[in-house]
Structures are given as C-alpha cells and as structure tokens.
Symmetry: D2
C-alpha cells in the first residue's frame, strides 16, 4: 500500500531537513517523525506512521481562513490581495513595497494577514477564532480539534517579522482592524493543532468539488474549490512552488511545522507530516512522501 | 460543440485587448481574428474560426526548444535556469540581477535565451534551427511549417531588451555561445509560423504522456511531458500565470502574437489565437476561449 | 542683508510645496510661513521672518541623537548602521531587506531608529529623553527648548510605517531594546520643538569644528563634527540629497515639518523653516532660501 | 611635504587591495605602484612616487565627458540622467529598471553611457573622440595625452555588462545613437591614458572655479564647476561615495585602474594612483593617500 510504503521510505531517508527553531514549541519536534493520511472520495482514510500526532498546522491554516473569508466577502477580497506567485520568500516585505501594500497572494504571510483581517470585518476577534475552529471541526467531522495556545503565545512573542508586515499593510491602508487584533487572530490560527488524519479529512472539500466527499455535504461551490486548489498549486510552497509542481504535480499547501495538505482532484485529500524543512521552508521528508505516493499511483494532475 | 461556441462568443466580445506593436509584422494583425483547434487523443482535430491562419508563435516556441534542450542535455540544463514563477514581467532584468544571472524559469525571455544557448552546444546555428523546424514538423506531422524570416528580422532589429538580457547573461558567464549567435537563433525560433491546427497537433506530446496520442509515437518520456506541463502551469503566462491557473486551470503557454498552446492531460491539446493582448501580454480573447471550453467540458486539472 | 532678502523672496514665491498631513499637528501649518536664522562664528545670530516660531524639528533631530550615540558608543555604532546614501525614499523597507537589517545610513528612518536604540543601551527611556533635551538645550544655550508631547503622541498613533521598520530591524536582531520602548523615544525626539534661532544655535558645533563657536565650548572632536557634516551632505535630504548638494552645496538635514539645519564649515550655522514640502519631503521654500543665501554669499563648500 | 609623506606611507601599507582583472591590460598592473600629483592655484604641480606613469583613467573620464556634454547641451542633459547617489553598485541594471531607463547619475556606467550618447548628438564618433582628447589636452596643457587603443579594444571585447546597460537604455528610448557606436566611443574614453601629473592638471578647472588656475583660462562657468564637484562628492565612488565623503571629505572621482581625481575647492587639484581596489572598486591605497594629505593639510570641505 502506497501510504505505508511512503512512510517506510521516509523513515529510511538520511537527509531530513532542519526543524524550524524560531518558535520555541516547534523547535522541540523530532525530525525522525513522519506520518501520512489519505482520505478518499468514499470517506475512507488510510494512514501510516505518526499520523495521529497533533501538530500545529501553521501556514496550512491559510487555506481554511481563505475559504472562510471568501465565504464572508466573496470576490471583493481580491481587491486587497493578488493571486500571483511571489517570486520571493514567504515573509518578504520587498514585494509589498513594490506593489503598494497589496500582497501577491493569500499564502504569503502578508496576504494571509489581510485575509485574517477580512474575516474580522465579519466577526469579532474571539468569535472569529471560534468560527474558524468550528469551521475546521466541521470540515473534518471531528470536534477534538483545538488551538494550541502555548504555541500561539510563543509566535506572538517572536513575531517581529509578521508585526513588520502588518504595520506595513496598515501604513498602506490595507488593514481594517488594529494591527494587534489582526495579529492576535493570525497567531492563533497558525496554532490550530491537528493530526494528519484530521487534516486530510478537513481538506476533503478541496479534493471533491467543494463537498466532503462523493455525495457529501457541500462546503463551497465546485468553482471555488477548484480555484483555491489552483492557488495552492501556484503559490502553496512559497518560493518553492514551481519546484513542487515540477516534482510532485498536485495542489498543496505547506506549513513551517512540517505539515503539508495536498489534494488529488476527484480522488484524494492527503496530509503528510515530518518536521525537518528544506531551504525554502517546506517539509523535506513530507515532500518526498508525496512524491512517492503520487508517482506510484500516477496521481499528478499533469499526467 | 465547444470549439465553435467558444469562437462565436469570442467574435462577440467588445473588449479585445491591444495588439503588440513592438514588432512591425505583429502590429498589422486584426484584433477581430479568433481561432481555435482542439486535438484529441484519438488524433482527431476539431477547429473553428481562423484556425488555419499562419501566425508566428513567438514565446510558445519556448516549449519546443525546452523539450529539445532537455533531450540534448538532460537535467544538467537546470543548473543554468530555475523552475520557479518569476513574480515579475517577462523581460525583467531585475530578477536576474537578484539571482546572479540564473533566470527564474525557461519561459521568461532570459531563461529561453539560456535554453537556446544550450541547444547551440549540440548544434551549429543553422543546424539548430533546422533541427527545431524538423522537430516541430515531426511533432505536428506537417512538413509545411516554416520560419517567417521577415518577422525574425523584424525582431532582430528591435530586440534591445533581449540584447540587454543576453549580454547580462554573458556577463555572468551563463552563455556558452556568442550573444549575437544565440540571439539570432532565438529570434528565428520565435518566428516559427503555425496555424492553430498545426500548433494543437504539435502540442500533443505534452497532453498525451509524451506521445503524439493514444498509441502514438513517443516523443519524450511520460515524466518529462508531465514536468514541462507543470512549468507551463506555474510559469506559462509570465506575471499572469497565477491568474490563468485560477481562472482557466490547465497548463498553457502564451505568445505575444496572441497564440496560446494549452493541454488537458490525457484528453486534449488546444491552440487558440486572437491577436489582442491583456495588460500582462497574454491574449485576452484567447484566454476567454480557453475559459469557455474548459468550463463547458469541465477540463480543469483542479476539478 | 542676505537673511532678510532670502525671506522676502521666500514670501513672494507662488509655488510653496505641500504641507505634510500624516501627522495631525503638522497638517495645521501655514504654508505662507518662512523664517531663517544664521549664527556666525562670533556667536551673533541674524534672523528674519518667522524665525522665532517654535516648530517640531522632526528628522533634524537625527543629527543630535547621532552625536549623542557616537559620544556614548563611538565607532561601534557603525557596525549597526551604514554611511551610504540610500537611493530610495526615507522610509523604504526594500533597502533594509536587501541588506539584511543594516540601514544604509543614520538619517533614513530605520537608521535613526537604530541610533535611538543605541542610546537606550546607555540610558533608560525617560533618562534618554531627558539627556537629549539637556544636550540640545546646552548646544543652543537655551533652556526653553522642550518636547511637544501632543505631536509625539500624534506620531505614535499614526506611525505604522515606523513600527514596520522597527519590527523589521528587531526581526534581524538589530534592536537591543523593545520595539515600543525604542519607538517611544524616537517619536518624542522628533517632537523636539525649536525655533529657527534656537536650531541655528544648536547646530553651531557642526559648523565650528565641534565647538559652539570661535573659542567656544568643545562639544565633539573636530573630526567627528566634520564627519557628521559629511553624512549630512550625502544623506541629509533622503532621495533628494544629490539634488540639494548640486543646487545648494552645503551640508544640511531636513525634517518633514519644513525645518532644515545647514552648516557652512567655519562660517555659519543656518536654520530655515517653511512648512510646504517638495515631492521628496524636503521644504521647498526653505531650500530656496538656503540657495539664495549660499549663492549670494558664495558659501558653497564646492566653490 | 604632504605628497612625499603620503607616498611613503602608501608604499608601506600591507593591505593593497585587488587589481581589477576583467580587462586584460589592467590585470597586469603592479599593486606596489603608488603615485600622487597636486596642482595648486598658482599652477605649480608637486608630485611624488609613480606620478609620471601613464595609466588609463577609466571612469575618471566620466568627469570630462560630463563637462563636454553640459557644454554642448546644457541642462537639457538632466532630462536623460539624474543627479542622485545610486545606492547600488556601479553597473547595476536594477536601479535602471526601477526608474524606467533614466540612470541615477552621470557617474554610474549607465549614466556615463547616456552622457557619451549626448555628445554624439553634436559630433560624429571619430570627431567626438578627437574633441574629447583635444579637450583633455587643453585642460592639462599637455599635447601628449592619448587614448590607449589596446585597452579600448580589450574593454570592447569583455564589455558584456556595459552592452547590457546600453541595450537596456536603448529599449527605453534613452539612446539617440546606435548601441555599438555609443559603446565604441565609451570604451575609448575610458582608455584615455594619463599620468597623475597630467590628470591633476586636467582637473584644475573643477578646483579653481571653472578656470585652469588663479587668473587662468575659463573652461566652464564657476557655477558649473561647483555643480560637477557636488556630483563628484555625492556619486564619485559608486556605492562607496558616502564612506569616502565621511573619511576624506573632498569631491573626487575614482576609476577601476586605481586612479582618483580629487579637488580641494579654491586650493588644489589632486590625482592619486595605486592599482589595488577595495571591495567597492575604488583604489584602496589611493584613498589612503588622499586621506593622509587632506588630514595633514586640513583640506576637508567639511572643516
């Protein structure tokens, strides 16, 4: 079976990347860890390795807040954030300065902060977080999903770069709420704690035309699911998005904790986890697992 | 039928974009023109509108030279050019300066010039062009495909920006042949003249796993076809690649003459043409035709 | 007399620039205002126009904090901030990103924030401000100089761009104290309120070899005075520094309130004020007054 | 005597910088060489060390072409080139892209190419070079000054970066003549071969108010001399201009051969030479000699 085989190969790799250290809680992760969960259209989830470990999903959360914000605001959101790959690293201010405070896409940090700010136009801060947790729980059919407040706090303490971005956005008039309130919600959303199993279930709506599976509940329109998947493919791995599309070939979004959520349209929602990162901040071993699975099952969208 | 319907809608559009004027020969194109050709796995080509007009394919040629260069040099090519979307316009020198003479991808002009230079390590200039024409004729099963020398010359005369790029590459040691020789071949490859019908046939190998169709001749490996398609999706429309993926959702490469070659993996190779360009240099009406066809037939790779 | 003549000409000018509006208190300034004060080596101050109006000196304060920080830390300061003109606007983050958190010079905002932070390594926040006020009073021999707390507060409220810069510096490890503490002092130093007369007296040490005049008190070494003047000439007018050197030809530092402090080495310290700014944020009429005086008296350092 | 002392100290320095290697003829220079010549207002030239060695002056020539172009075109020239320090290295294309083909100042390579092109609007290529040689000979009162054609040719062969810049300028419509013609003249002007003695004499007009000395021939207006000196101070050492102003404190222009021409307004014209360069491309030992002389004689314009 592909999942098991991928984890076995993952365990054997010598090169495991480097665990992110800028958030204290993430720095403690064991680079030997590796897990995978694959949820199919029939609702069945296959998993292997450390697929039940709870891990903060970090930037993978940007997918869920984007879906929420599009639900609340529709295409108006796109006046405040673009849809183009960035050509620079995930926390670049440079691009922002070039383009007068309009982030390139919703998956660079600046763009995700704008998306969070957009949600805050519909909800108050605590409500917004409640809404987000509720949304993710509902997507995954799992009420145990929580926010890891220790990690959220840890991020808030070391978040100078994100504070710089948010203040920069504010100076361009592209934040509607206060910097601290928006960042507060942003740091908490990054600290959503999920296992690979939970995450692969939460990602179903992007794989199955906006629904939780064949004949499942409709979460977003088919068109919206497709479009979010398109942004995942072109922008989901920061400045390594082109490389990921080239090597793996499916829409996916990575997080600095080593989590990646990937979708095979019509076929599967996949979550992988391994904490070591490559030089561009994407899970090294996680990417390898996805490459193995996609190769073996011929799941590339380009095949 | 989708092709005919798309052309009909295309003819009715009021907004038609702006015809490129920097090459004299292109400036004469009639923005009312619109054509489409769809070649299916069974080898059948459906077409509508001005699908038999011969047009220089301009940057669409970068696909064919990339395939040739990968054939001649294999993955060594990737030490000289990257695979990431550029985050800037097609002829940007800025990105090049940031990254010390390594172009972001083979579809920005600087990258395509490096690819052409790579081919010249295996062939002499005239041979290289002969080889390229032969390759494209063979891909399309059509010996009538030629290079429009008038357009090639016209490009050579106004190609200051490309000369700047080539000299810049040379100053970083990323050209093996002389600037003028490399540019000479480059300007000629852009002047490959093809109709939509011819182009859709030439693109089959990217749609059908490296072969010219179901049971057809093998041109490149399945893996290479898939990978070129991935680069088309992330980088094929310059700084509008994210937008195209979002709206249309299939791998495609555009040219400044208003040609676009798109592929639906396993299903179809599509060429569209309409000379008016949007602000990012991609065919406005052509993109609309692709959007119509893909929507109608549910051909997005993200669905 | 040159000062009087310059003010008369200043009053007659039709083009008066645009008053800065981003700080509420500054926005109220009357663009018709124009003042000048010239303090000579013998201690005599000549003045004309609105030369006794108290105005917050804004970025002109960067000169005084630089002198204080060099006094406290010596050349160690230059490991944290450069001495080159910036080639971009005063609050650019771009340059900072290019150069990994080392601001180009102490007169762009990011550089001045680092300088303020350096002072805070020797003093606590309130002490630091007390020390600064004391220093400026002593330079000017005038105990009436104060900080305008209303303006300081107004700056703090709208200072998103400076907050972005400070957080960015912190993310690169180039702040030793907390962002809020450093910015608190920074906003207050910008709100030092002085008249042209007071400012021209405070600037004497830069004109007279580090002393308050011929035979006056020694404030800094001759070498340090000379070097600060050099930075004023190359960096004192943000991205208009080259233009100012070209047209006027003496070391000077401008502030967004329309104040400029200029020095004619060995001869005079000059303060001019007029609130309207040119497109680069420097006093339009103030620059004109300096040009008139320098032309008339042949005071250019290049003559 | 200051000149002799400076050379003695220069000979003893251990750190001598790195000789430029990109032009074959320059690469042969002996880093132990060091020369200085100081021409005073009374016409007397004091010199020491290798002050009679003929060396191509490279970028120092930009001063003379600027004076010629201003003579031919007046202030119209400033519509095509700016007067601000560049904030980046001497051959940066980046800045050019940001500012749509208008070089920052006449002393970065792109700016100097525009200046050369401007001269070609008044003279044919051979005439232009003849005019330039005649101008420099007349400035120096020395008919032996020639162009080193071997070096000119050597530059032409390796000038990819300059060709990139010139083509880029052409693509923005900021060249009036053909790229090759303009570059031909440009490469030859850089190959003007002069000794320190000759160069210090040629620079007199910038030191003595536009005239060749006290009571000498008028070459340019006092105002123009002053203004060219201002550009030398803010832009004369590429991205090391701020540092040079800080450490030495007089207007100067350096060349990649290790030549520097400096002026002390009203007092002296100084040429120094030593071939080893610092990391920013300016003569390391030459800068040291100027620092010694200026310190000893208190010649800083900021004192």
């Amino acid at each position: 079976m592909a999942a098991k085989y991928a984890v076995e190969r993952a365990r054997e790799r010598e090169e495991r990347g480097v665990v992110a250290t800028y958030i204290y809680e993430l720095a403690k992760a064991d680079p030997q860890k590796a897990g995978i969960a694959i949820t199919l259209a029939n609702g069945k989830t296959i998993c292997a390795g450390d697929c039940n470990d709870g891990v903060t999903i970090q930037s993978v959360s940007k997918i869920f807040t984007l879906a929420l914000a599009l639900g609340a605001q529709g295409d108006r959101l796109w006046t405040r954030v673009g849809r183009e790959p960035s050509g620079s690293s995930f926390d670049s201010i440079l691009q922002l300065e070039h383009e007068n405070g309009i982030p390139r896409n919703p998956f660079v940090n600046a763009g995700a902060i704008v998306v969070t700010d957009a949600i805050l136009s519909n909800y108050r801060p605590k409500e917004a977080l409640g809404e987000l947790v509720q949304f993710v729980r509902s997507l995954a059919d799992d009420d145990e999903i929580i926010i890891d407040k220790l990690v959220a706090q840890s991020e808030a303490e070391t978040g100078h770069r994100n504070r710089a971005l948010a203040n920069y956005l504010a100076s361009h008039g592209n934040l509607r709420n206060s910097v601290e309130m928006t960042l507060g919600v942003y740091f908490h959303q990054c600290a959503l704690s999920m296992s690979c199993v939970q995450l692969s279930r939460a990602g179903r709506f992007l794989a199955f035309g906006g629904a939780t599976g064949a004949g499942g509940r409709k979460i977003v329109s088919e068109r919206r699911a497709r479009r979010i998947a398109a942004i995942m493919l072109t922008c989901g791995h920061y400045d390594g998005s082109g490389e990921f599309a080239y090597r793996v070939g499916i829409p996916a979004k990575s997080g600095v904790s080593g989590m990646i959520l990937a979708v095979v349209p019509g076929i599967a929602s996949i979550a992988v986890w391994s904490p070591g990162l490559d030089t561009r901040g994407n899970s090294l071993v996680g990417t390898g697992m996805l490459e193995d699975v996609v190769d073996q099952l011929n799941w590339s969208v380009f095949a």
